[in-house]
Subunit: 526 residues, 2 copies
């Protein structure tokens, strides 16, 4: 049946795609289930769209004769229409709400977990298929909706096992940034590129010094390697205005935990005002920015929504350690129209090779009032949040030191003629060990190999124990049960084969009754 | 922000794709979790492959300049290689095992749930994206592996809530069919088309009379509407040989439950031999077919594996009601090389419009020893089972009469200036009602509408109750709690507005303390 080598296809994954291990799947499922529970408690309902949409519904994509796949995976349908694999979960949601506008309750609160696809050059840790987990409120313009998304994001981080102070939900508003840019003479679409460059410079403020950000706002900056990054081209005066509004509030270390991780009392933190300016209360931050905006005659009403949001989450008990206004949060996507959020991990940890890692952002979102209006003749306000599932899973993996999931109890097969009898024993054991909702895997070995290979198989499966019955035991009405973990420990202590055979460490012989075998196995599992 | 109508893309799904409702997602998740638990108990581990594979790895597809998308969704990568969306979960598993051959334990027992894609003409209930749930054993040639798959499939059906007698796992073997075809002079690839036509005729045996199947095996058959189906072209003698082997064992009604649903004792069923020939013990069936194969000098060794399988699952306690040999099971896919299985629902039910429905097959599988050998120079035996998730979900939906999931407890907003206070109340209620792992959705209304629209929203969300506090209640330190279900009942009994206002049915006023509100809400939820 095997083909000749020349005709054989190569067994290989396309670049940028990955297979998922049992550990990865279990970890991700657990994570998604945890988040799902939080979202349900907040009154969000699941809704899912398919993987394939009309390319024009996704909005980013225009078919191009030379290269139809730029950015997205696209293909032509039988009727000539262009289809694309979705590249995020927001664009399809906008299509869904527009298509079912009169049928969904409004505000429409929904969540979904799903795979998205990017037709980009893959790199280390950069895949062409990855999972997102989104929650959105469509049809609510109120800052209460944005505040709700931030509080729920905070609850999510806590439910996943992060402590207060290990994460921060950071809040900003495009409206404030826009007001400042308008005031320094960069209003309108003519300055689109400059505005974008300013946003990118501010985005660097949590990594770069004030001087470096100043260079990025001006002519540009040369890094240690000699690479030059072209600047936004602002005048010294314009750059200073931007810096005086945004820079002192951020800077390296912003959002890190300087206080007792369990302390979430804002007044308590405010009392430490003598400490460096790394974390402020929202009211301090807002007061500062209001003064700076007034200095350049910018529209201070731009601060109203952030102020309203802050009042709401503070009233609901979410302090500075969980949610905080942070003007370094920019978020790349051009469709954001108001509040923007980011969930950042603030602790440092070591990766597998012992290197210090700071995870940083594991999710983000914001207000995107224009997206549903692409389809229908109404403006439909919307706000949402998206979690990068694999980034978050990686962070959780580093943080936990969980044991690998135990493998199955394995009934080995000594004489092949007795397969029915072995299978009967297996069925009885499985039924008994899984009573009351437990999950204890039990299997009969179904391969063709001998005992040595079966024990090797049990080892690879991380089996806690194996059950052995040869003809001798069968005639005596007995079975042998071998504790594999205890066996490994014993093997390090016992030197000679004679001693081993005499001691038979980690192996017990019991009567061939379900009760006796179950008791012996339970004894090993506990 | 809304575009002019001419530029607006239409909000519509591509044909053959569907959005998924909350009820569908919840039902499917519950189903997949249930099946997952069964598979884990049998020692199967999750593994998942990506949605995209090299087209040649999937095997079905050869790029074609005119129509690259025949059957599968395909697109060209930057480097010119053809990529496809997977059309099942088996071909990617074969690629995975071949690529990781020395790293996986063997036998390799794995399972996965995942979406697959078919580029076919969609029709009613026929989608271009659907979910499969597969379990496979790769690297085991033993009938014990096939028996294990069948027993696990049976456990799965029971775990999902089907009673014994409501489903049947039906077993057949391509080897037996092949032996019969070889013996009547249809050996070899020259007769490929005829063999396929015979398989298709046998496949009809559970729906058609003996005479009709005879016509299909011979010249052909005209149905009531006058449509003619061309037959396999067998001689009368050949057709009779096939019929005498396969037909009497199947026929309409085979596999239906004629006995006590809890009775799974084979001897008990065998004792009812006076009853019509609808269900036999495996040993009767095998004895009958052995005699018929001998009559045409066919190779009776073809029955050995089925006999061994039957011995194993019977010994493990799986009787005729759960697993049975049934020669009408053919399964379409050409890659099956030995045993084939089918999970069929045997009960009749009514659909939403009151029509009688018989679900029939909800899953199937078999032995596919050639699939991994496409990639590497070894033959790797394999066997597996695939569940059609939406078919099974539809069957479960018809069978259960579960209430819709209750919606959130909704805190309405009377005066917008007090959003922080409403949100504080919401947070406190959510924390209290979800203590101890419960999931009770609680939300503050975040839209902009007035009280009437808020109550309509609560109704659409299927909210059990709403909490109302206007300025009057706030000053008095009270809240109103409205039981929406009880309110609907009362509305049918009370006629006049005066009477309603006087009685205030289904509405209570309580102190504005978390304890009092929680107690009143719990009273409504229970």
């Amino acid at each position: 049946m095997a083909k000749s080598k020349a005709n054989r296809p190569k067994a290989r994954l396309p670049k940028g795609f990955a297979d998922r291990s049992a550990a990865d799947i279990r970890r991700t499922n657990h994570m998604v289930d945890t988040v799902r529970t939080v979202y349900e408690r907040w009154g969000f309902e699941p809704v899912e769209t398919p993987f394939v949409e009309y390319a024009d519904a996704l909005g980013k994509f225009l078919p191009d004769a030379d290269r139809p796949n730029e950015g997205v995976f696209a293909f032509q349908d039988d009727d000539g229409g262009w289809l694309s694999l979705r590249y995020d979960l927001t664009a399809p949601l906008a299509r869904y709400v527009a298509e079912n506008f009169d049928r969904v309750p409004r505000p429409y609160k929904s969540y979904r977990a799903g795979w998205v696809f990017r037709n980009e050059k893959p790199g280390p840790g950069r895949f062409r298929q990855f999972m997102q987990l989104d929650a959105d409120i469509v049809g609510a313009a109120s800052p209460a909706a944005d505040a709700e998304i931030c509080m729920m994001a905070s609850d999510t981080m806590e439910a996943l096992g992060f402590w207060r102070g290990e994460f921060a939900i950071k809040v900003n508003s495009r409206t404030v940034l826009d007001a400042a840019l308008d005031a320094i003479g960069l209003a309108g679409e003519d300055h689109g590129q400059t505005r974008l460059a300013v946003l990118r410079s501010i985005d660097k403020a949590d990594k770069f010094t004030r001087e470096d950000v100043q260079r990025l706002l001006g002519e540009g900056r040369e890094d240690e390697s000699g690479d030059f990054t072209k600047g936004a081209g602002l005048s010294a005066e314009q750059a200073e205005a931007i810096l005086s509004i945004f820079y002192p509030l951020v800077g390296p270390g912003a959002g890190t935990n300087m206080f007792d991780p369990m302390d979430d009392d804002e007044t308590n933190i405010a009392a430490q005002d003598g400490a460096p300016d790394y974390r402020r209360t929202d009211s301090d931050t807002l007061w500062h920015v209001r003064r700076q905006l007034e200095d350049i005659s910018a529209d201070v009403a731009a601060l109203d929504d952030l102020t309203a949001m802050s009042d709401i989450y503070r009233a609901a008990g979410y302090g500075t350690k969980r949610i905080q206004i942070d003007f370094s949060v920019v978020r790349g996507l051009e469709y954001y129209t108001g509040a923007v959020f980011e969930a950042a991990l603030t602790f440092e940890t070591k990766d597998a090779s012992g290197k210090s890692v700071r995870f940083g952002s594991v999710g983000g979102g914001g207000r995107y009032d224009g997206l549903v209006g692409r389809f229908i003749s109404q403006n439909v306000p919307a706000t949402g949040f998206s979690v990068g599932v694999s980034r978050l899973a990686a962070a959780l993996e580093v943080r936990s030191d969980s044991e690998p999931t135990p493998g199955p109890v394995i009934i080995t097969v000594m004489d092949r003629d007795n397969l029915p009898a072995y299978q009967k024993m297996t069925a009885a054991l499985r039924a008994e060990l899984n009573k009351g909702g437990a999950t204890v895997p039990v299997e009969m070995y179904v391969g063709d190999a001998g005992m040595k290979a079966q024990l090797k198989y049990a080892d690879r499966r991380n089996a806690p124990c194996v059950i052995i019955q040869g003809s001798q035991e069968r005639e005596a009405g007995k079975v042998q049960i071998k504790d594999l973990a205890a066996g490994k420990r014993a093997a390090q202590e016992i030197d000679s084969r004679e001693e081993w055979v005499a001691a038979r460490p980690a192996q017990v012989e019991v009567e061939e009754t379900t009760e006796a075998i179950v008791a012996a196995v339970r004894n090993i599992l506990l």
